[in-house]
Amino acid sequence: MTTWLVRRVAASIAIVFAVVTFTFLLLHLAPGQPFLPGDETPIDPRVVANLRHEFGLDQPVLVQYVKYLGALAHGNLGESFALHRPVADALADAIPNTLVLAGAALVLDLLLGLALGVYQAVHAHRLPDIGLGYATLFVGSLPTFWLALFLLLVFGEWLGWFPVGGVVDPVVHASLPWVGRVADRLWHLALPALTLGCVGAAGTARYQRAAMLDAMGHDYVRTARAKGLPEGRVVLVHTLRNALLPLITLLGLSLPFLLTGAVLVETVYAWPGMGKLAADAVFKRDYPVVLATAVTASTMVVLGSLVADVLYAVADPRIRVRA
């Protein structure tokens, strides 16, 4: 188990390192360059040369790479071209927002998906199951940003139940007592988290339904029924416990989905997270920011799958023995 864990962690670190190298090479060997005078606004070539020198862009790629790695080791992600502040600062502001959004969406995703999946499995092949089957198929196929736009239109604009964007109310937030501040944050979080959570839950429900049906076919379920246990206990204790394992795999797989969704949903809801930071930076050709967000997102994905693997090993003795 320990050797397995050490190897698994080492592999994760190697992947992150490879991602860093790959993104760096991709960005530096590509045709586009920052500070090159565009055709619409002619800039003095000397100014360009000065700027390129200031940011170290006139040095050989290999030197830049080694410097970049060295800086990275010190937690220094470079200076943003467009934001005029260190990339690490911009990321430090954005990451908590994304984590809050992704975390809330994940909780919603798992709880709703689990409940729907179990409900469908219990009523398998009957009307509620078939209806929910079509519903989850539909919701799971929606473009997240499109769902975001319409939730915003209906609940934000027409009904006015929720704010139309941002993390907190810019006017009254500072003057609220702490209970009010938490409520204000949750109120702003509701729609973005609901958007991502619903689309995710649709997939989780389909997955969980299959896992439940699979578990229900086993002999221990028949034994539990034969013992005369109440049906609720058979479903929720005997079956569900064994149908939860695949959910751990899904947990690891859902991070890429959540981060991808975050890029679009954050843009719709003006949620100042990592995804919006990246999307904005692409337009300004702000390499360091794009690179840093991609590396951060990948690190999160690698960490997520590591955690899922460890959880799986903890939860499933068969995996432990084999390792």
Partner: protein, 308 residues
């Protein structure tokens, strides 16, 4: 909407129905086909897909107006759906239904082409890695690990940040190039078990070269997972294209794609929600159809169910 467009639309519906009944007939002849038909959503999915393909092919007849033509900028700007304009008009007084019809061409072909690139690459890399072993396999699979670690949209954001303006063919290529990692893993796993089978040994004993064994003997046996991941992959690509177009870095504007129609409409969501609603519904319908068909195909092509 005029009579010609209405007739063409009916024609497209008839084509879709015909395609559905013909597929039904064909499928009921084999065991796998009957397993496919056991999924009710799959038939609906096939109908939706053939309808949209027919509409895309017959776009000049089905669309009552030129998709890029501003009809009457003063009186027809952001008009709600009516008899003349069944899905309304957009900010530039263009007919939304006509744009949706032409957008089907763009969105569907991007989905199909990018998926084709991704699946071909995935199949080849997976087959080579699974068959070669030694140092080639670990090398390729570690590369796949890295590719899977970077969320696809961030890979594309990075790539797009590098080119000032991404021409459409390059965008399709890029989407394809970032989508083959999963498929290659799937194919490799399959090939690993196939390569130990007797028919591969027989082929080798008969003096077949590596290339021939991989292309003629191994890959045809991996067709099932490839087809399934292709069906599910098109839907993913379409969602991705829509997302990128929404961010303003996908299909460049005058050309209508379902994604950039949503992007165009989003700014006027409160005054003209129909310009955003319909392209989104179209994407959802097609992706839903692809998912339904993909699920049913997975079931139908699973060789382990052959005996049952």
């Amino acid at each position: 909407m005029n009579i010609r467009a209405f007739a063409a639309l009916c024609g497209a519906l008839a084509c879709a129905l015909l395609a559905l009944t013909e597929t039904r007939k064909f499928a009921s002849m084999s065991a796998a086909g009957r397993r496919f038909l056991r999924h009710p959503p799959a038939a609906g999915g096939l109908f939706v897909l053939s309808f949209f393909v027919a509409v895309a092919v017959a776009a000049p007849w089905v669309a009552p107006y030129d998709p890029a033509h501003a009809l009457e900028i003063v009186s027809l700007q952001n008009q709600p759906p009516s008899l003349l304009h069944p899905l309304g008009t957009d900010l530039y007084s263009r007919d939304v239904w006509s744009r949706l019809v032409y957008g089907a061409r763009v969105s569907l072909s991007i989905g199909a082409l990018a998926m084709l690139v991704a699946v071909t690459l995935g199949a080849v890399v997976g087959a080579v890695a699974g068959y070669a072993r030694r140092w080639v396999d670990p090398l390729l699979m570690r590369a796949v690990d890295v590719g899977l670690a970077i969320p696809r949209i961030f890979l594309l954001l990075m790539a797009i940040a590098l080119w000032e303006r991404v021409p459409l063919p390059l965008l399709v290529l890029l989407i394809g190039l970032t989508g083959w990692f999963g498929t290659s893993r799937l194919v490799r796993a399959e090939v690993l078990s196939l390569r130990e089978r007797d028919f591969v040994l027989a082929a080798r004993a008969l003096g077949a070269g590596r290339r021939r064994i991989i292309l003629r003997h191994v890959l045809p046996n991996v067709a099932a997972p490839i087809i399934v991941s292709a069906a599910l992959g098109i839907g993913n690509v379409m969602l991705l294209e829509a997302g990128l177009s929404f961010l303003g870095i996908g299909v460049p504007p005058p050309l209508p794609s379902w994604g950039n129609m949503i992007a165009d409409g989003a700014a006027h969501l409160t005054t003209a929600p129909w310009t955003t609603l319909f392209p989104g519904l179209a994407i959802a319908l097609v992706v839903m159809a692809l998912n339904a068909v993909g699920d049913a195909l997975r079931d139908a092509l699973d060789p382990r169910k052959e005996m049952a």
